[in-house]
Structures are given as C-alpha cells and as structure tokens.
Symmetry: C2
Subunit: 189 residues, 2 copies
DNA sequence: GCACGCATGTAATTGGTTACATGATTGC
DNA sequence: GCAATCATGTAACCAATTACATGCGTGC
C-alpha cells in the first residue's frame, strides 16, 4: 500500500494539487513508483477522509491544494522506520531468461544483447538527468541524488550481466552438451 | 500479462499439475515472478479454454496433468521474441529513500544500513542456492543459472550502493548546509 | 475567439492477494 | 486410524491500468 506513502512523502516537502503531484510522479518517481492520474486523485480523496492530508487552499479552475497533516507526517515516519519494505518485485525481462531454452541459442543471444542495449540506454538517461539537474539542498534533491546513483549502478551492472550472459550462451554452445559448465566465476573479470 | 507466460514456460519443460507448478513457482521463480495458488489454478483454466495447454492425463486425487500445446509453444516463442518486456517495476525500498529527509540523518543512515544488510542476506541466499544446486543441462538449469548470477550481481551492487549512501549521509551531515555536494563521483572507489 | 495547459473526476476491466473450503491418498 | 501431503477450487477484496468525460483560465 505504498502509493499512499508516495503521496504523503511528496506532500511532506510542499503542499501540492493532484495535478502538481502527477507531474512529480512523472519526473522524480517515474522509475520507482509510477502512478496514474486516477490513482492519485483517488488516493487524495482517501487520505483526506483518513485525516492524513487536508485541503489547505482553493485556487482557480477548482484547484485544491493539499497539505500533509500532523497525523500524515506521523504515518509517513512510521512507514519509514517501522514497516518492512515489501518483498520481491516482478521482473518481466528476467522471467524470460528462464525460458530462453525454447529459442535457438542464436535467438537467446539476441535477446540478451537487446537487454544489454536497453540497460545502456537507461544508464545514459540517468547520466543525462544527473547532468541536467540543479542539485540543491532540499530533501528530494539530496535523497533523489542517492536514488539516481542507485539507478546508475544498477543499470551498469545490468548491462554487464547481460553481455556476460550472452557470451556465456556463446561458449555453452561451443562446448559440447553434457560437459560441465563450472568455470563461470572465472569470467567475473 | 506474464503470469500466463510463466506457466507456459514451465510447462514447456515438462507436463505438470497445478500443484507441481506451485512448487516450481515457489522455488525457481519466487524471486522473479511470484504467484499464488489461486492465480495458477485460474490461469490453467483460462489457458485450457484458450487452447494453449491441455489436460494430458488424469491422476489420483483428481490430479490433472497439463501439457503445453503447439499453439501454446508458438505463443511462448512469440512472447520471447516479439513482445517488449514491460517497463519499470515498483521499488518499495527505493521509494523510501526519496523521503528519508523527514527522518533525522541518524535514522536515515540506519535505514540504509538496514538495506545493506538485507542485500547481503539476499546475496548469501543466492550463493547458497548456487552451491546446493546440481546444475545440469536442462533448460531451467542452464538459464536459471544465468538468472542466479543476475541475482548475485544485483544484490552485491545493491549492498555496495546502500553502504555508500549511508556514508554519503554521514559526510553530508558533516558538511555545512548550502555547501555544494559535487564530489560524489570521487567516492566511486 | 481559440488553443493550450491546468485541473478534476468516474467507470470498466485486469491482475494480484488473502482467506476460505473441501476432499483423496499414502505412509506410518 | 491418523497425520501429512497431494490436490483442486471459489469468493471477496485491493491495487493498478485504460479510457472516458468535463470544464475553467491564460496568453496570443
């Protein structure tokens, strides 16, 4: 149930309308917690009912500016400190790897190299964000930077793994079936 | 819609009952594509209706052994080669990082070190699986091994990042606010 | 006056989780 | 005979996606 906490987290920085929040979801949180417009508006309603946020101001075009309440802040802190982060995320790309055996080794290799290219593209995007962003001292900046570094490291590792795996299929193919494949740690450069 | 393909993938290796499939989900696929029992039985029903699997044999206790059909295999191959892997996964643990600013720096550091410990535990688990598994030449073994290596590399990178980030908060705290934090790439050891 | 961006919402559907419900076989 | 395991299914609920629907304000 983390959409709720994503909204609370964003509002803990500054009051915002549903529309503002959507922009924040699409830029800062897009990679970690994507949300749709209908989700955000729905959640704001529930949070208001629960007393965790309130409508702090009304603006033009029916704009409602929401602010986090004391109860909301307490709930956010509680989630951060006391609630165990939820388990394993589904990983579509990796699921496929399990079943690459139904393809030819060549097709399997192509798939892995495609993954490598995707990872490289993701890394490039993160690098671009890093350069273009004016990092300052507010919360989302300081901690957003840590998250960006996470993205950079993970996409790098992802790309390296995919290249290695593609190689691995090449050599497994070269080797005769039945011969044991025990030397992989040696590849770890 | 990948649960469908996970089931097809498993059945492409060998016929199995819903019960068998659940065991496979809980061991091999637990980290990439968790599924519940009700999901699996439901999906088997739908797949049968769609003609992608069929009941190949009836066993004791009402056991139904399912086998993939030619159409099913075609669909599986199609998914592997032609369908773009779906986008960004939600990442609960990382979402929290964005909001660590509402905690004290000390609490934030604790959270990150906790993440590092979790990652280390995950890595240990993968290493154990690696050692205990009799890797042989069947599809799930060959390609499962690649996935395991993925897990190993990612958990390692995850741990290193979390330790680095914890450090980073320490030094950010030491530095005066307003002073620019531009030296992080130097930490990349 | 019109287009674009701001702004909010609802409805239908799908995918996933939790909990419940039941019964047959095997091994001890 | 009894416990453990094999085995299948349903119902209620929650979370997320997609699509639809509407209208006000600002700048050109």
């Amino acid at each position: 149930m983390s959409l709720r906490h994503a909204v609370l987290g964003l509002l803990s920085e500054a009051p915002a309308s549903g529309y503002d929040l959507m922009k924040l979801f699409n830029v800062s949180l897009a990679e970690v917690w994507p949300a749709t417009q209908s989700q955000v508006y729905g959640e704001l309603g529930k949070l208001t009912t629960a007393g965790l946020v309130e409508v702090a101001a009304h603006g033009p075009r029916g704009r409602k500016e929401y602010a986090i309440t004391d109860n909301g802040l307490t709930e956010l802190r509680h989630w951060l400190t006391d609630v165990e982060p939820s388990g394993p995320a589904r990983h579509d790309g990796l699921l496929r790897v399990f079943f690459l055996g139904v393809l030819t080794p060549l097709e399997a290799r192509t798939y892995l190299l495609h993954m490598a290219a995707d990872a490289a593209r993701a890394r490039a995007r993160y690098e671009e964000i890093d350069q273009k962003t004016e990092w300052d001292e507010d919360m989302i900046s300081v901690y957003g930077r840590l998250s960006l570094e996470y993205g950079l490291r993970m996409s790098t590792a992802h790309e390296e793994w995919a290249k290695w795996a593609a190689e691995e299929i090449g050599s497994a193919k070269a080797r005769k079936a039945g011969e044991r494949v025990r030397d992989r740690r040696a590849h770890k450069e």
